[in-house]
């Protein structure tokens, strides 16, 4: 799924938890994103970071690593257990997610998916309720097809901040594109701070792993320099 590029993002200021933000709640179309809560007429922050604005949408951005599941987001998870009707999946959230056997393409009561503990999967968060364990599915609800979801074969997982995953997806950090001009590789970016990557040889996998790891702290021109150094 391609995420649409947000229009003109501006960093308003640095905020700390408990800070009140002087925004008018009555503004038509005003939307509060993660890190902001409304209490009566005032808006306060629950996270430390940058207050970011895009149009009339406001949210707080930081290099958080703890994943809070949100319906519709794509995640990379590791099968950590097996129940009678579902798998337990570790997606880096406070509670383990469940993945029902029936949430796969062409799955029936008889035709079960074959996954083992320790396997990696790419899935979509089907249900995220703060009082329940999150639920995953390995199919696209629009057409009931696998659409790239499912077991991930081979490769390596990079753990990074949630923000870096967003940057990779929106190509704000276009390291994937730059690196793709030098060598071939595959990535599945989860919104939960896990990036699965694979390539043809172990050497290439380790190279991609290290480049993506380093690029978290680099800006685009530095990324370009890094890839140029590799290309030579």
């Amino acid at each position: 799924m391609k995420h649409s590029k947000p229009t003109e993002r501006t960093k308003v200021k640095v905020v700390l938890p408990g800070d009140t933000v002087s925004l008018d709640v009555t503004t038509p179309g005003i939307t509060l994103g993660p890190g902001l809560i409304q209490a009566g007429d005032s808006i306060s922050c629950t996270k430390a970071g940058f207050l970011v604005r895009s149009g009339s949408i406001y949210w707080v951005e930081n290099d958080q690593k703890r994943y809070i599941p949100e319906t519709g987001e794509h995640v990379v998870g590791r099968i950590s257990g097996k129940g009678g009707e579902f798998y337990r999946v570790d997606i880096g959230s406070a509670h383990q997610a469940i993945l029902p056997f029936l949430a796969f393409e062409n799955a029936t009561k008889k035709n079960r998916p074959n996954l083992n503990i320790g396997d990696l999967i790419y899935a979509r968060v089907a249900l995220a309720n703060k009082d329940m364990d999150p639920e995953l599915q390995c199919l696209n609800p629009m057409n009931n097809k696998a659409d790239g979801f499912g077991k991930l074969e081979g490769g390596m997982v990079l753990k990074c901040s949630l923000r870096y995953c967003q940057r990779l997806l929106t190509q704000e950090t276009d390291i994937c594109k730059l690196l793709g001009q030098v060598l071939q590789f595959e990535v599945s970016i989860g919104m939960n701070g896990r990036v699965w990557l694979s390539s043809d040889t172990i050497k290439h996998i380790s190279l991609v792993y290290n480049v993506l790891k380093q690029a978290e702290a680099l800006n685009n021109s530095e990324c370009k320099a890094l890839v140029n150094k590799l290309a030579v």
């Binding site: 590791r78 406070a94 083992n116 320790g118 991930l152 081979g154 390596m156 172990i202 380790s206 290290n210």
Partner: protein
């Protein structure tokens, strides 16, 4: 508390097959350490060690205390290792974990039991007064091999530490404040440095300085501490795979060369810190004038 994540099958397979080809995930060879950075100062006895992404801080402090009755002419050396959830996400707060006990035991064996620091020199008046030296080791970030990093931090902090000077005339003991008389370094007999090896599969595959991912899938480990006289001070092999004699000899030879490299780094750091200190005092003299 969330338990420390286990690795996925994909990652395990990749690391093992990489090791078979002699490739490690971070690009180094199987007998390479990660980059090592030692920062000493600004105060005496403070050492910050960065071994790859593993980060350890050691701080040495001293106080005057009464020596133990059974060792009336010796000072005290205490090592304190603190594992916090900051670096170990799976840590259960409250009681010491197995890892914590292991780290503190190894450090104690390497530094205290081996008498790396001259404790007799810490005695001021027999049976009455002696210096008690504390080494506090804090783990700030864990990316594997915390033992080597902690050992390097503790040794470099002890070598860098200065205690206030003392004069004893008859019964009178004077402890000179640091600003009146130059503090004196501890006398250090030898400097044991730990080198950790991790073994995989059936023991044919091994690496030095394992990263966290490698530690999670290792099937055995061995820690060798060697001092500046090329003597093996500690060899710890706590369970895990049985090893061939040849492997142990091979590892100890490699450990000896790694220890030399680490010692050079420590000496560089000490020289650097001395240089900074010298410039600081020069500046102070100029300002005073």
């Amino acid at each position: 508390m969330v338990k420390e994540l286990e690795l996925s099958t994909n990652e395990k397979e990749l690391i093992i097959s990489g090791l078979k080809e002699g490739i490690r995930l971070d690009g180094r060879g199987i007998d390479d350490f990660r980059s090592l950075k030692i920062t000493l100062g600004p105060e005496y006895g403070r050492s910050e060690v960065k071994l790859g992404d593993t980060k350890v801080l050691a701080k040495v402090s001293c106080e005057v205390a009464r020596p133990y009755p059974d060792r009336p002419n010796e000072g005290m050396l205490t090592l304190n290792t603190e594992l916090s959830p900051m670096a170990f996400a799976g840590l259960e707060p409250g009681r010491p974990s197995e890892e914590e006990v292991l780290v503190s035991r190894i450090l104690e064996k390497a530094i205290k039991i081996n008498r790396a620091v001259d404790v007799e020199g810490l005695c001021i008046v027999a049976n009455e007064l002696a210096w008690s030296i504390h080494v506090d080791v804090h783990f700030l970030d864990n990316d594997g091999n915390i033992i080597d990093a902690a050992c390097i931090a503790a040794i470099s902090a002890l070598s860098h530490f200065r205690r206030p000077d003392v004069t004893v005339i008859g019964e009178d003991v004077t402890i000179h404040p640091v600003d009146q008389r130059n503090p004196v370094p501890l006398s250090i007999h030898h400097t044991p440095i730990c080198v950790t090896f991790a073994f995989f599969e059936n023991g044919d595959l091994w690496v030095v300085d394992p990263s966290l991912k490698e530690e999670q899938i290792r099937r055995g480990d061995m820690i060798i501490a060697i001092n500046n006289h090329k003597e093996i001070c500690v060899l710890s092999k706590a369970g895990g795979l049985p090893l061939e004699m040849l492997t142990i000899i091979q590892c100890s030879k490699l450990a000896a060369s790694k220890v030399d490299w680490v010692r050079e780094k420590i000496q560089d750091a000490i020289a650097n810190a001395a240089e900074v200190e010298k410039r600081k005092t020069l500046r102070e003299i100029i300002i005073d004038d």
